[in-house]
Subunit: 446 residues, 2 copies
């Protein structure tokens, strides 16, 4: 594309994909605008550790502005995209701002989805943002608080029952962390309840957990979960989710806390562009990651569906988004210098990785499988390596070492109004988190 | 007091005072209940550092349950006190729970107050809780984001104007931290604005800042603030606070962010008991810290007003609450063993301490004054010493060292819905923080 002005590249989404694209674009003679509706990049693989009180939000999130502040050609915009004008080449933000582009890269990710059961959402929240994580942390901690003051044994039992729907990596990692929170971290903290009596039930519709791993790794994960005390229910499709119960296999399980880790839906990028999407909302991109009919617009990561050279779909993981971002940026750079060669995307799968509790993990590099504590240490080192910035690496490493040695998780904060939630007539899973009156209460500390 | 049952001591408030009382009560043959409406103890002296993005909430807050979990005689209750039945000796919680006591210690603190100007609160929020701090952090960061997309120079200037009402320790420390956030931390992060153009105005009605310090220390603080770039307005009573301006000295200052650091009001403990209170709602306790006419009920810390032996009022600082908590516990222990001797409280003032930015502080021990970087290092070491737990000490020390060396503050997170706040028609200081729809937005990260 030839333009009279300096070329304008717009990247939407400061996740793994968008940031990788920005990095790859370094040195290109163009004005770059990075748009995100959050002011921070989030390291999603560790989000479950915020939800389960091991890490603080600031430890897995970075101000996007700071990540690109040494790149004067990059302007960061905090704003929510509501549409793309594919004729005029303009990105429209909710506040009315119009951002023109010559090339556009969309890495707007996915959110959890209930596929026809949106009424389940208030009872079974999912985990995609920092707010989701602090709300889940609050729910988990409040469940123990409610149980402590509950006098009816049946109600108390229900409050100490945690049901997780979905046996993928998020479900498995949450299950392991919640049972350890109950059995190790909170062990001595209550007088009327025994936190170690808490039940954690992982419900998976398919025949095994971690379906994208090799069968023997799934079997290891299931065994490790059961050894920790998690009840694993396989081949059980959930048929109903209510305020205080979840139904599957013809029975109803009373559970004070229900967590959704089962499905995701792509961001509405396909709608913005008016192009075809699959059932999960993902754009069916061309081999070079451009959007069909729009060779100057690219989509990457969880926003798209694409089949790799080997005939297998590219998985919805952070590394695929990174590779996609890098590839889209390379195509843009080629087009800017007049190179119109076909450049199909080839995804290289590095491996699968998941952790169960604080001493077990499983890693499948294809040529090497690691489990047990070797897997756990490798998992930890790999995650620390992929974090951004030395400070967060040091802090998370120290945090994990601390939890590993003492079992204590320090981020056990209930930080939203909660008096309703521990009242005598609790509305379990009422979805009221954050919507209540937020006037500050009387402070109790001097 | 002789009772047929094992004596019951109830402590309300897990702040400095309440926890000191619990500690002092160790070994006493009694059942102790600790009630707080928050699940965490908050180290309030560093709350301004959460508000100004230096520290994460979990670094200055501790789960109360964990702090007392090795004391089997102590039961922790998460609940909000709504009244005290002084005839039946029962504490009533909002959820209907009734907690009987033989001895009661109230350390329920204070909240910020607007003294007849409650309509100012939405425009000039104060700082007492973790939620206040994360909301203030959000407001500060959003102000820069709004300014970045604002095209009108006057409006942009207003957005980069930060007015702090009240020149006590909180106001002084906030002013120093905000100007450094703008001039050092955010220096390179924006393209359309220069964060270092931000104005920080500290407005104090009295003739000097830090009025409880010696005059020469106040003068030093004022000079240090001015050297950092803070505009200090002394002898200026604020006459009006609006959504986007503050009036004092006959003029109106356009300010996108206005912060209240001017007044506090005691918790409603006096109302619960139906006893006399001063204008700030504080109970006028007896010399032994018991409530007049109720020798088995004690009140401590910011909930009370009491004159020390030297004729000066005991200040509303953490150490006074701690000493009060210890004293009340000692009186309870004496009464339990049948000792009815008079036990007047003597407050021992250790010193005054405040910090201005990341390299200046002032400390007045009476026999020794420290300022400059010696003061700053002493301030830092003193605060680390008073923190609870080795992990937080290590983490905060590392954090401060990091900020000291690099200028970067890592907790720069905007963690509530904000799309309204950066819209084209911003309602500056609309007080909407946290009351907006909290459904998760589309996730942008892969």
């Amino acid at each position: 594309m030839n333009t009279a002005h300096r070329p304008r590249i717009v990247v939407v989404g400061g996740g793994f994909g968008g940031l990788a694209a920005i990095k790859e674009l370094k040195g290109v003679a163009a004005d770059i605008t990075l748009i995100d509706r959050r002011n921070h990049h989030l390291f999603q693989p560790l989000l479950y550790q915020v939800a389960t009180t091991s890490l603080a939000p600031a430890e897995i999130a970075w101000p996007i502005r700071q990540l690109v502040h040494k790149r004067p050609e990059v302007t960061t915009l905090l704003g929510e995209v509501v549409g793309v004008d594919r004729e005029a080449n303009i990105v429209r933000l909710r506040n009315g701002t119009q951002v023109p582009f010559d090339y556009l890269i969309l890495g707007t990710g996915a959110q959890h989805a209930y596929f026809g059961h949106d009424d389940w959402e208030p009872y079974a929240p999912g985990l995609k943002t920092l707010e989701d994580a602090t709300a889940m942390r609050r729910r988990l901690l409040i469940a123990f608080e409610k149980a402590e003051i509950e006098t009816d044994p049946e109600a108390r039992k229900a409050l100490l029952t945690f049901a997780i729907i979905g046996g993928g990596a998020t479900g498995v990692e949450l299950a392991g962390a919640i049972i350890e929170l109950a059995r190790i971290t909170l062990r001595q903290d209550f007088r009327n309840i025994k936190p170690e009596d808490a039940r954690v039930i992982l419900i998976e519709a398919g025949p095994r957990v971690l379906a994208n791993f090799k069968p023997e790794m799934s079997a290891y994960a299931e065994r490790a979960l059961r050894e920790l005390g998690v009840e694993v229910e396989l081949g059980q499709a959930v048929t109903a989710v209510n305020a205080d119960s979840v139904e599957f296999g013809g029975t109803s399980l009373k559970a004070g806390t229900i967590i959704w880790a089962a499905g995701v839906l792509a961001s509405p990028a396909a709608k913005w562009l008016g192009v075809e999407a699959d059932r999960a909302g993902r754009i069916k991109v061309m081999p070079d990651l451009s959007v069909p009919g729009l060779p100057h617009i690219f989509a990457i990561g969880d926003t798209v569906t694409i089949v790799n050279g080997n005939g297998k779909p590219v998985p919805g993981i952070g590394d695929a988004a990174k590779q996609g971002g890098r590839h889209a940026a390379k195509v843009v750079k080629a087009r800017l210098r007049g190179d119109t060669a076909e450049m199909p995307f080839h995804y290289h799968h590095l491996g699968d990785i998941a952790t169960i509790g604080r001493s077990r993990a499983l890693i499948d590099f294809g040529w090497l499988q690691l489990t047990g504590w070797i897997g756990w240490w490798t998992w930890g080192l790999a995650h620390i390596y992929f974090l951004i910035g030395m400070k967060n690496r040091i802090f998370i490493a120290l945090n994990w070492l601390w939890i590993y040695l003492t079992g204590y998780r320090s981020a056990r904060l209930i930080t939203e109004p909660h008096s309703d939630e521990v009242s005598a007539a609790p509305a379990a899973g009422s979805g009221s988190a954050g919507t209540a009156d937020t006037r500050r209460p009387d402070s109790k500390a001097a």
